[in-house]
Subunit: 351 residues, 2 copies
Amino acid sequence: MAIDTVTWRDGKVRILDQTRLPTELVYRECGDWNGVAEAIRVLRVRGAPAIGVAAAYGVCVAAEKAADAATGADLLRALEPAIAGLAATRPTAVNLFWALTRMRGVLERDDVSSADADAARAALLAEADRILAEDRSMGEAIAGHGRDLIPENGRVLTHCNAGALATGGIGTALAVVVAAHHQGKRLLVYADETRPLLQGSRLTAWELEREGVDARVICDSAAGGLMARGEIDVVVVGADRIAANGDVANKVGTYPLAVLARYHGLPFYVAAPVSTIDLSIPSGREIPIEERDPAEVTRGALGRTAPAGVRAVNPAFDVTPADLVTAIVTDRGVVRAPYEVGLEAVVEGRA
Amino acid sequence: MAIDTVTWRDGKVRILDQTRLPTELVYRECGDWNGVAEAIRVLRVRGAPAIGVAAAYGVCVAAEKAADAATGADLLRALEPAIAGLAATRPTAVNLFWALTRMRGVLERDDVSSADADAARAALLAEADRILAEDRSMGEAIAGHGRDLIPENGRVLTHCNAGALATGGIGTALAVVVAAHHQGKRLLVYADETRPLLQGSRLTAWELEREGVDARVICDSAAGGLMARGEIDVVVVGADRIAANGDVANKVGTYPLAVLARYHGLPFYVAAPVSTIDLSIPSGREIPIEERDPAEVTRGALGRTAPAGVRAVNPAFDVTPADLVTAIVTDRGVVRAPYEVGLEAVVEGRA
């Protein structure tokens, strides 16, 4: 089921604060773009598609505040710091830049640039609403294309959270799983807890429980042993950015699952909207990988877990080479190798 | 450096409470065998060799309490519940059973069986002291055999804690790394934090800091990405039980590292004393794998990390097939494939 991850309400961006889940369901209203940027940075809102939606509405809230602008052109000048600030929050998920490029494109249109500021604000809001609406329909489309990849009685492994909470709609990878559940398939879903911030145990387990899907939380390091014991049939994950050659950047810990799936002869599926495909990036080597605060590993929300002064390394993402990916499920269909061809086709709408 | 992980003091077993590390250095005195069993069960003392030492002294403390026994034979009868209770604490590490078998063997000796109870108690204590002393010398021997496997400027990955805290001496896998450091090699050690109980970040990072070894804590799921980026040269881990064919049971998360090491062409070393080799077990399939409380994953020491009511699966160990193991470093030398031959040789002292 869809969750109001990010919505527009009374001139503010309303964000479900995912750092408080699963114990509390708290919404935050962001009345300026800095609040939206902070929410993205500290992962109150996370997941590539949801970040795109939040950034789009972040531009709208900045436009509300730009009271001095007389025209669309004035508004574009006034919004430059907001667009730059929102773009600087997180480097890996391409949907953020894609959404901001769309919002800027609205203000660069001749009719909007020359229009009065209120009309330009309305055009911005319409574009953000469109991004959210597309996000909702892309989730449905991904679920429709992907659900038949999940076998009856399937034991499914997923990592991090690629569900409704990661999008404005029903999700990507988790939407595939939930759609298979709605087909009447008996499923058992193993949710990697996903250290350091536990999006799997906090968010994915919470979503699966709401959907009535039988789920088990496991430590990330337990997935390999389950595969060896024949207890996993299929792996499905989301993506933060997909390079032109099919290399996939996703939450750290995705790549080892892909290697393990290959080693055990299991299918490894990536589910993501076309907006996650970045044809300007030839391969995963060029995808910028966010390094987050090492304190997320040594302290984080969990209290001190390592001696004071001990250093940590905390990459937020890793890259899975295309040759380990069985298929990429997009809102425009399922893409298989050679990915260069298939990804370009879905991006250009020829799929 | 050695740490007094488990010692005998004034008729009690003194155990460094590892659940309180790294923030507090607290010792607990166990005046009865139940206290020792509880300490093993909740991981106040952990690590296969250290569990063996603790169990041996646990028998001694039970012998102190058996005031009614007149002879060694009486003592054996009186100690049956203690031996059974200590054996029931944890199923995977073979050193526990090995140590208890040795302690029972003392009481079964004709000279001890017919001796008075005080003489039998002294014989038990001498055997436990011998197990501890052997544990200390096996660590030195493993370190001596293994240190040359660690390259100059090596970037070393380890999992869980196989250091002084896991033994009565200087450790196993971590002793190899520390010995290489003492050879003057510049090393960078990545310590997997090791969910759910964080022995890597709490214990291994603490030991490495005391030794002055440059260390970084990482989430377990980050190891694969580091390998892909060429930032790991060698993997060294301990073992809880090694089957006759070389299959290795060790902390959950070891097996995926072995698969990843193979995929990246990196050496994967296991360091363990001969007492960890169980020739009665033909392969890893027959090694009993402890399933621990799922609450360690969903609550544990870290507060609630998953929705109330969500189920979890919490295997404490996994099995790494021998074909993924580059070499096993024992106190009697380095064993390579075919393991059936080499392991039997070191167990029988023919290495």
